[in-house]
């Protein structure tokens, strides 16, 4: 399912989406499911 607050990135075209409302389905792009993009390794400077 689409998880609230998670970023998903298309492995083919690089499109990135952010889930602001959880859903039963996993978002798709370029004909396939988009994997979750992990948190950044480095903290931001703010």
């Amino acid at each position: 399912m689409g998880e609230l607050g998670k970023r998903y990135e298309c492995e083919d075209c690089g499109t990135e989406i952010l889930c602001t409302k959880a859903a039963e389905t996993i978002p798709e792009c370029c004909g396939k499911e988009m994997p979750i993009k992990g948190a950044r390794e480095l903290p931001s400077s703010d």
Binding site: G5, L18, K21, R40, L42, P43, S44, S45, D46
Partner: protein, 516 residues
């Protein structure tokens, strides 16, 4: 994406999480979003439309942040003003911005009333923290306005903030900052809210400073709770971090020094701190060394940027603050910690040029240039300064000198110009010199920055008196009372004449060598 989307996104993900904590009160993302809608509708009712400028003169507070987003929702331009500035300086900025609306704290009402006759563009004034005669009251506007959301057609490249910064000569310069500039930094560096894990950020840096605005935007988009401090006081900072279990803090070196040197440091639990960012001035090695030892849970970041770059452009990360490895590695890391500002962020290009504009090889010292989507496109209504600030092919001249090593780390090597930076505040020597020159006994004056263990730099005036005139150091410093306190010289040196080159230009380099 425009900056109002940061709030919309985070409110959708974590509506019930506190967005701001201030003076014993707190507002969730949802509550803040509603107050912002009401305020935007109130501003619209006062005739504010896209492109209008709104000035704000107040210390950090929840209303400051609400006002920014309410203005942004209308496509209006937010003009944060330095609350340490004097009436003359504020009048200049407000007049230059042609502000239509001015919001202020009650402590500034008297000063603003004296300024208003000379500010024809200002149509309405709002007092933020209490009811004041002749001013609209902020909370009345909020309670009387509609909570309906406001939608304005906003282009990502529209200006959202006009921020004033001191240069080396004369009056402050207005720097237009675009929605797209903040978008580039925030979406490139900040993780969106985690619905489960909460983070708290203590906001100490003033919101009239680009670092304060960057921290605020990052907190909103990141779903972080901001513990707001109206102004930095070391005991209050320690107490707030202790009580609220704060995870993130941004500090200028002077603040960090006061924190780690505080006699009651051990009485506070600061173990919640995970990230401490510092910048805006050189960090003394002894201070950062002590901070790393005393705050073992924190990861330290040195962030380098300026108003013209919409804040951080280079970054010396946490791993560079861990001095370990072979002796050779330790030496290299120590050097980086004491003089490097790290590597450019992914959306920024940096290069070093010589005085003729030629790109230099690694390790050769020259001026640091920057390019990228966050760089301003020019100063507000100031073509001459804009032309000076950029190379012909569009690179921003940062005014800082430095070099790059073989691994891409950038090192600072002083200023390419005469700018003085005291505790993170830029000071134009020319502005101070003009005030000293107006003293009836002064023939001419030059102001230089001298090293100061507390503030990084302080102003020193080198003064030539008119023939047979007399004045003391106290007289000269007292004559500078029209300037903000941080700009006034701390010391005065009287000389018979100033060193000059063949065409009569004062040799500041010589003065810095002799009196710096």
């Amino acid at each position: 994406m425009n900056t109002t989307d940061f709030l919309t996104i985070a409110t959708a993900i974590c509506p019930d999480r506190p967005l701001m904590i201030y003076q014993g009160q707190q507002w969730t993302f949802d509550q803040a979003a509603e107050r912002i809608n009401r305020l935007a509708n109130a501003f619209a009712g006062l005739g504010i439309t896209k492109g209008d400028r709104l000035g704000i003169l107040q210390v950090n507070c929840n209303q400051y942040i609400e006002t920014y987003f309410a203005a942004a929702k209308l496509g209006a331009i937010f003009v944060p003003l330095n609350f340490r500035a004097k009436a003359d300086e504020l009048s200049y900025m407000l007049d230059n911005a042609e502000a239509k609306l001015l919001l202020m704290g009650s402590r500034y009402v008297g000063m603003v009333d004296d300024m208003l006759p000379n500010l024809p563009s200002v149509e309405n004034c709002i007092c933020i923290d209490e009811k004041c005669d002749g001013k609209l009251f902020y909370e009345d506007l909020i309670s009387d306005a509609s909570p309906e959301d406001v939608f304005t057609e906003i282009d990502d490249d529209d200006m959202t903030i006009l921020m004033y910064t001191a240069g080396t000569t004369g009056r402050p310069k207005g720097v237009p900052l675009k929605h797209s500039g903040f978008d580039s930094y925030i979406t490139g560096n900040v993780d969106p809210p985690d619905p489960i894990t909460e983070e708290k950020n203590i906001l100490t840096v003033p919101l009239y400073h680009v670092a304060g605005i960057q921290a605020m935007m990052a907190a909103v988009y990141g779903g972080r709770t901001m513990a707001l401090m109206s102004q930095f006081k070391v005991e209050d900072w320690l107490q707030l971090v202790n009580d609220e279990k704060v995870n993130r803090a941004m500090l200028v070196p002077t603040m960090l020094k006061w924190i780690v040197d505080h006699p009651d440091f051990d009485k506070y639990d600061l173990s919640s701190l995970k990230v401490i960012t510092y910048g805006a001035a050189p960090m003394p090695y002894e201070v950062i060394k002590k901070a790393i030892e005393l705050l073992p849970t924190a990861r330290f970041i040195n962030a380098f940027g300026q108003t013209e770059t919409a804040s951080t452009i280079t970054f010396l990360g946490p791993d560079d603050h861990i001095i370990e490895g072979t002796e050779e590695e330790k030496e290299k890391k120590l050097k980086r910690l004491t003089s490097s500002i790290g590597k450019p962020l992914p959306d920024v290009e940096v290069k070093i040029i010589d005085s003729e504009g030629k790109t230099l090889e690694n390790y050769d010292v020259g001026e640091i240039l920057a390019k990228g989507p966050r760089i301003m496109s020019g100063y507000w209504k100031n073509e001459a300064k804009t032309a000076e600030a950029f190379t012909e092919d569009g690179w921003l001249k940062t005014g800082d000198k430095g070099y790059i090593d073989d691994e891409g780390y950038i090192y600072l090597a002083g200023r390419a110009d005469d700018l003085i930076i005291r505790g993170g505040e830029n000071i134009s020597p020319k502005e101070v010199e003009d005030v000293i020159d107006s003293h009836p006994s002064v023939e001419e004056a030059v102001v230089i920055g001298i090293s100061d263990p507390e503030w990084g730099q302080e102003c020193r005036a080198i003064v030539v008196l008119k023939e047979s005139e007399k004045a003391t150091e106290v007289d000269i410093i007292g004559h500078c009372s029209s300037l903000a306190g941080f700009k006034r010289p701390k010391s005065v040196v009287f000389v018979d004449e100033l060193p000059r080159n063949q065409v009569g230009k004062v040799l500041k380099v010589k003065l810095r060598e002799q009196y710096g």
